[in-house]
């Protein structure tokens, strides 16, 4: 019997004894909190907890590396809006989580990490597999706890869930000593006390005055623009944003993590702004006379050079976190509150408007960008990543949950896969963690059992966590994986081409045969080298019962355009070349050649 089958058929906890071990208490609380699946890896200091697990209706997914567990819990949380849970042992188990914890922290994702710790008598003695995990994770968690007594486990875990999902969400970690897991104490299933109720915080909220000033700016603006961030998705404010736009006519540019918060196919959706946003979108940001920043934090990848960012624009900033106000950009009106409530309050107060002249000006700014778009190329037989992403969007009707890794493919996904729904894109924005995609997609698989889940990863990032293919096989999961394989660490190669004199240092990468790699895991592998083959492979993957890996051999030296060089002015973009070497060679007759390696 597999572990999954064992946990799936486990009976509900028996109510008889009025005491529980600390280990049992962990699962009692998780069940109370509605947790159905955890991602983890056992080890010495967490073994008591694992030993108790089969008695509880919680499915455990055995990962191949704890970083995978962290990303799975993160992907689960991002795709569902619920709290994800990852479990690891002390020492190396816990330190392997660190990259995943930081990833969740930078993107404000609610995840509860539970780690085993050496017994309390050994704390501080450099015992086997002892690491100061609360110390290590202090700057990358919203809060963390070291628990040394069984009595504390219930109240602290409940507090951990509350902290993770309250206010601006984020990861928390609870480090539980082995002896606390082994000890028993009285247990009352009705007791839902937390270790410490939340302390009162200064009342901030949207004041009538701030709302009135915001409305006045919006009504008066001639060229207003919404900058929609992750906060729209996290706050569940997509409907409120749509209503606000419908009334005020203000167009919407999105951050990477804001994609899907406003339907990409809406005429007022401009798509992504920033370093790899369309030039005309960034032009609109620079030309705007009012920016309405909603749940975003003016990241440097969004603003470019701060000194020249949107120089004409007054700025309204709505964010739940007061420490974000004025951090990067000085604003005229700051509203510290839930963006959903703020939009609901603003919409009826604002004057209805069409803003036809402004929309026409933005439209005119597009110029020849469509002509430059690689999508407009005739099918020369060459395979461009843009083709793959565009075709994937078309074939999945934009309904898939797409989980990307980090790099060129991530930007192409953002440009060519049009997200109409929140939580349809799962991607590591703030930390930019390579290796995120496959494990995060496994988490999304559990979060959204009815959705089609696609991984889009580069050949480099995919190999960082490719061992989780084994998890897909063991857990019998259906995930479709598109590897955008160009034989390079593509984004770094692109920077080397543009900014480092074309010296490709440590970026050419030889990969395993991904088809055989899939097959070695008992999964299906396909290879695509021509555009004409894309649709067939995507259809085959969708039809297959299990996980399918498609190795898309795309153009090796393709670049993501347009591009604002790091630290440059937002209006100062490197545009797509009208005639590139790639396009010229594409006109040749050598349609069957292997992509250069």
């Amino acid at each position: 019997m597999t572990a999954a089958a064992a946990t799936a058929t486990a009976a509900a906890p028996t109510p008889a004894p009025a005491t529980r071990t600390g280990a049992e208490m962990i699962w009692e609380v998780l069940v109370q909190e509605g947790v159905e699946v955890v991602f983890g890896y056992p080890g010495g200091a967490i073994m008591p907890a694992y030993d108790a697990l089969p008695r509880y209706p919680v499915r455990h997914v055995l990962v191949r590396h704890e970083q995978g567990a962290a990303h799975m819990a993160d992907g689960y949380a991002r795709a569902s809006g619920r709290v994800g849970v990852a479990v690891a042992t002390s020492g190396p188990g816990a330190t392997n989580l660190v990259t995943g914890i930081a990833t969740a922290m930078l993107d404000s994702v609610p995840v509860v990490f539970i780690t085993g710790q050496v017994s309390s008598a050994l704390l501080g003695s450099d015992a086997f597999q002892e690491t100061d995990v609360t110390g290590v994770t202090l700057p990358i968690t919203k809060h963390n706890w070291l628990v040394t007594r069984a009595e504390e486990i219930g109240p602290v875990l409940r507090e951990a869930f509350a902290v993770a999902k309250s206010g601006r969400p984020g990861p928390v970690l609870v480090d539980i000593t082995k002896d606390a897991q082994q000890a028993s104490c009285a247990f009352d299933p009705a007791d839902r006390r937390v270790a410490r109720p939340p302390r009162p915080r200064p009342a901030r909220g949207a004041t009538a005055d701030a709302l009135a000033r915001a409305v006045a700016l919006i009504d008066r603006a001639e060229q207003p623009l919404i900058l929609a961030g992750h906060g729209i998705v996290a706050a569940g404010a997509a409907a409120e944003l749509a209503a606000f736009v419908a009334r005020t006519g203000v167009p919407v540019a999105s951050t990477l993590l804001g994609l899907g918060g406003f339907p990409a196919t809406d005429p007022r959706a401009l798509g992504m702004m920033g370093m790899h946003g369309e030039a005309w979108v960034n032009r609109a940001v620079q030309d705007a006379d009012l920016l309405i920043a909603l749940g975003m934090r003016f990241d440097d990848r969004v603003t470019g050079n701060l000194a020249t960012f949107a120089p004409r624009a007054r700025k309204i900033h709505v964010d739940l976190d007061p420490s974000e106000i004025g951090k990067n950009v000085a604003v005229d009106v700051a509203i510290v509150d839930d963006v959903r409530q703020v939009l609901a309050a603003l919409t009826p107060r604002c004057r209805p408007a069409e803003r036809a002249a402004w929309m026409a000006a933005i439209e005119a700014g597009k110029g020849d960008s469509a002509v430059r778009d690689i999508q407009q190329l005739p099918d020369t037989g060459k395979l461009h990543a843009a083709h793959v992403l565009h075709d994937l969007w078309r074939l999945t009707e934009g309904r898939a949950v797409v989980v990307t890794d980090v790099g060129q493919h991530q930007m192409w996904e953002a440009q060519y896969y049009k997200h109409d729904h929140p939580r349809g894109l799962v991607t590591s924005g703030g930390l930019g963690t390579m290796g995120f995609a496959l494990p995060a997609a496994i988490g999304a698989r559990f979060a959204r059992p009815d959705a089609e889940v696609w991984v889009v990863a580069g050949d480099g990032g995919f190999q960082m966590t490719a061992a989780e293919l084994s998890t897909c096989a063991q857990e019998d999961l259906k995930v479709n994986i598109a590897i955008i394989n160009n034989g390079y660490l593509g984004m770094v190669r692109q920077w080397q081409e543009l900014f480092y004199g074309g010296r490709y240092v440590a970026t050419p990468m030889r990969s395993p045969d991904f088809v055989k790699l899939a097959e070695a895991h008992g999964l299906t592998g396909l290879r695509v080298t021509r555009r004409a083959e894309v649709a067939g492979a995507v259809a085959a993957a969708r039809a297959a019962a299990g996980t399918v890996v498609i190795d898309f051999r795309v153009e090796a030296e393709d670049s993501v355009y347009p591009m604002v060089p790091s630290g440059a002015d937002l209006g100062d973009m490197i545009r797509r070349p009208l005639r590139s070497r790639l396009i010229e060679t594409g006109a040749d007759d050598e349609l069957t050649e292997e992509p250069p390696r």
């Binding site: 309250s166 410490r196 109720p197 009162p200 915080r201």
Partner: protein, 180 residues
């Protein structure tokens, strides 16, 4: 009073839960957000289970507002107040060991008396002065003692509270249930 955009020394008082690691959390915040701390002290407050931190930090107004907001984000923080310079009683405690043989001793003691400082330890060739005063007065005393030969100095860093009658620095328990 300096301009809002200019950095200046300011005093923040934070009331925190007296739990393990709380000082580490506050210090970590200052370090990773790149704040420039002049001093940081922590000790018991009038409420059992709560400690009080006094932080002296050099920053401009906008940075101070974000620092305060960042402190509020720490789960263990109960209250944060920036004390206006005019409304603050602030004390730093210093022990200063000075060279003072029989030819110099009277002069050193006289200097200490000018600052209302006390001599707390005497040896044949040196003595130790204790002073509790605002930061600047301690700096001044040190400058006066320097020619005699300062052997060692230890300071606590500032502790501060709002002046009597200038409003409570601390919201009182019990805790109310409200979101962070």
């Amino acid at each position: 009073m300096s301009a809002p955009g200019q950095p200046r020394l300011r005093t923040l008082v934070a009331t925190v839960e007296d739990v393990p690691g709380v000082l580490n959390r506050v210090a970590s915040l200052f370090r990773r957000r790149n704040y420039n701390i002049a001093s940081l002290t922590v000790g018991a407050s009038e409420v059992p289970g709560l400690s009080r931190l006094t932080v002296v930090v050099s920053c401009d107004d906008a940075t101070a507002a974000r620092l305060e907001a960042n402190l509020w984000k720490l789960v263990d923080v109960v209250a944060v107040d920036e004390l206006a310079a005019a409304d603050v009683v602030e004390r730093d405690l210093a022990l200063i060991k000075v060279k003072a043989d029989h030819t110099q001793r009277a002069l050193v003691v006289q200097a200490a008396e000018l600052f209302a400082a006390r001599v707390v330890d005497v040896a044949p060739t040196e003595l130790t002065i204790e002073i509790a005063a605002p930061r600047q007065r301690i700096d001044d005393l040190r400058a006066v003692l320097e020619p005699f030969g300062v052997i060692a100095m230890v300071r606590t860093g500032a502790v501060a509270m709002a002046r009597a009658g200038v409003g409570a620095a601390v919201p009182q328990p019990p805790r109310a249930a409200s979101g962070a």
